[in-house]
């Protein structure tokens, strides 16, 4: 097989486990029988999550794509096209934790370079796309994650860690390494995307309630 998007070494077999099968049943219900090829992306994602759950590396091997093609009655190449097009599908094995650093302009202005550097230092990874020697981390450069108010963002698997800087990144990675997963969200004193350190505007007037009108 072509090695540019899928590795030559592939597992022999893949079978959806019970948990995935239950999800698949729900996904397939959303599409009419003759349009079930539409379920290709959810199914790829289910396969990827199962791989993460079972093997610790959330990626989609070719055998899983073939199985999805069979289930959805599509040509295998159509599944490959989808899986290789979207960057959120991993077609190569990755580490236990997928560190995705946003380096688009807002995050970059707010210090994504520092976050990247901290990731490198803490994991020993040299370049984006590489996996650390211990197999725990894969560092990826991603485009805008859509959380610019809380820039810079470091996405770990499905969770956003916001308002990162060098030391916080290193601490986060140390936690992950120790098997703890800190709570996602802003790493500083703020609520969601609200201003840092509490409200900054509309301080004098109390929020109008309907009966005051």
């Amino acid at each position: 097989m072509n090695t540019t998007w899928a590795p030559a070494e592939q597992p022999e077999s893949f079978a959806f486990d019970d948990e995935s099968e239950a999800e698949i049943v729900n996904v397939l219900k959303k599409y009419p029988e003759e349009r079930k090829a539409s379920a290709v992306m959810p199914l790829l994602y289910i396969a990827q999550r199962q791989m993460g759950r079972v093997t610790g590396s959330a990626w989609i091997p070719l055998v899983a794509m073939d199985d999805i093609a069979r289930r959805l009655e599509m040509a295998p190449i159509r599944v490959y096209e989808v899986a290789s097009f979207y960057t959120m599908f991993n077609t190569k094995p990755i580490g236990r934790y997928h560190l995705q650093v946003c380096t688009t302009t807002p995050c970059w202005l707010r210090g994504s370079d520092v976050v990247t550097e901290a990731c490198r230092k803490a994991t020993g990874i040299h370049h984006f796309g590489e996996t650390s020697a211990d197999g725990l981390f894969t560092l990826t450069e991603v485009e805008c994650l859509g959380a610019c108010a809380n820039a810079p963002i470091l996405q770990v698997d499905d969770d956003y860690y916001e308002d990162m800087d060098g030391p916080r990144t290193e601490a986060l990675i140390a936690d992950l390494r120790a098997g703890r997963k800190p709570e996602a969200g802003p790493a500083i004193n703020r609520m969601c995307s609200a201003p840092e350190g509490g409200r900054k505007t509309l301080l004098e007037t109390s929020v109008s309630s309907p009966d005051q009108k």
Partner: protein, 692 residues
Amino acid sequence: MVKVIVDGTPVDVPAGFSALQACEAAGKEIPRFCYHERLSVAGNCRMCLVEVARAPKPVASCGFPISEGMQIFTDTEVVRRARRAVMEFLLINHPLDCPICDQGGECDLQDQAYGYGSGISRYHEEKRAVTDKDLGPLVKTAMTRCIQCTRCVRFSTEVAGTPELGMVSRGENAEITTYVQKALTSELSGNLIDVCPVGALTAKPSAFHARSWEYKKTDSIDVMDALGTNIQIQARGGEVMRIVPRVNDEVNEEWLSDKGRFSVDGLKRRRLDQPWVRVHGKLHPATWQEAFVSLARRLEGVPGEKIGAIAGDLCDVESLCALKDFLNSLGSSNLDCRQDGAWYDLSARANYLFNSDIAGIDEADALLLIGVEPRREAPVLNARIRKRYLDAGRGGFPIASIGQFVSDPTYQVEILADGPTALDALLKGENAFAEVLQKASRPMIILGHGALTRQDAPAIYAACKQLAAKTGVVVDGWNGLNVLHTAASRVGALDIGFVPGPHGCATASMLRGGVEVLWLMGADELPIDRISPETFVVYQGHHGDAAAKRADIILPGAAYTEKSGTYVNTAGRVQRAFRAVFAPGDAREDWRIIRAFSEVCGHTLPYNTVEELRARMADVNPVFAHVGHVTKLAAPQAIASQQEKDEDKSFMSAPFRSVIPDYYQTNAISRASPTMAECSKVYSVPRAIAAE
């Protein structure tokens, strides 16, 4: 009709046309790479940009629907600049290797770069390189040249029905690839070379052999199957270099099967280029005079009814007519063109034709295949069935088959049964598909040689006729009872009457020793070892194949590229091929050989030129006067007269078997072709292994 104004000129075009089609209708040429009129619209090359009044920016005309009164401008400064920009983008990663590229001279990118290309490149970064893919022995790849138009992806998915090509990854890394790094499993893969607008996919067998402008181009007809695909033979220096399809919407649209395209190298090998005469059990080279004299001596005293002739699958009607006239003049009516032992109801021409014509498939709305495997017997026709299947939408074109398939038919088929007994069930209405046929307004039956070469062919054909009459397959204005032939010469031979006359022997009895002298004209697919040892065999043909080894006299003839000939396709369309090159050595056009020999043995045939011979053919059967057309003959009457015929109506229980064991090795030319031999080797691997 919708009126649009193209560059100030109003044109009326059908609703549903795209802006590009409207521009073409107005006579404006729109450059394009990804758009192909027989494939779905992708709109990803952006070369066909035009300006539309009130549109904020140039639009890709290939996918832009027209509307009433729309004003299109195809040649404004904005358009030219937009196209130049697109061209600059396309050329960023395109290698400058035109001098060593086989597409050079017939390359869309090259041609359009003359119009829109910039003389210099502003690109200083590294160009990307893409690894070549292995698409098998026929298609050579140079993927760095690919401009990602996805025509090949759409062709293999839509037309060929073998979705093995795809575009993986994205952006800079996007590339066309196969999902198995194995040969494409399509019999139409050669067409990828034609649809590719650049030099990414080129012909492997003819790589680096010639440039497109060096070819002498001759229109001809393909003889590798009975479809009568219109082809152009491209020759250089007396050698056929390659064969490409010609557009004929009535027959092959613009596709050509791999066997028709790539058997060319078989024309240079194992050729018979001089007469041979068997003396004391060994074949010795001879001159024409020696061969004719010894043949005439052998024929002396042999009564007419002890002489027979069997015609092969690649013969032109001219030589068949000459051979028939010659044998008749010797007093023989032992003629047969059915070397496979097929049975036809010869009482009417419609009984052995593909009556709806190939284009009739586009109108059909139900199809029953009986003992036929279109994908292997006529790949281009199979693509037409698939096209109809896709156009009709889900369930719009139900297809059923009596008889199993060896390879995936590329459309959904309900297998009713393996053998002919299912016809009984259909006739009695016990099978649900009878109702499907009944309800369809244009139902179609395709009867193949898997059924017609069996002992019970008459019973099968009678049942088909009954079924056709009962379910409205044959009605006024529509005759959907079709016979798909496998031999290019067959319909022409039947039309000219190359069948046993009254008391004449058929193929089987001629082989069994019913004749003393057996004239085989290109007949190589016979069970040669069953020819009785006493029979004196004359082989007239172009390849030293099976029959030539058994022959006592070999008369070297011309292959289809080397003679001007008439061929009748399975639909009864009379088509003429022209001579592209001369036959090698002493080989001669077949009808001339027979004409010359007829003089030697004192039964001179009454024609000296091919025109006189063609006049004679038109005398024998008026259809030969209408070249390029299908002469329709009314069929329903024939059915009425046939129905009462009391024949043995019992079927054999044996399942239908495929008449083509190996698609790539079906005739003397393809068996002599190294390319076809390699294909046969590659593709004979069972699919289960190939998929690994």
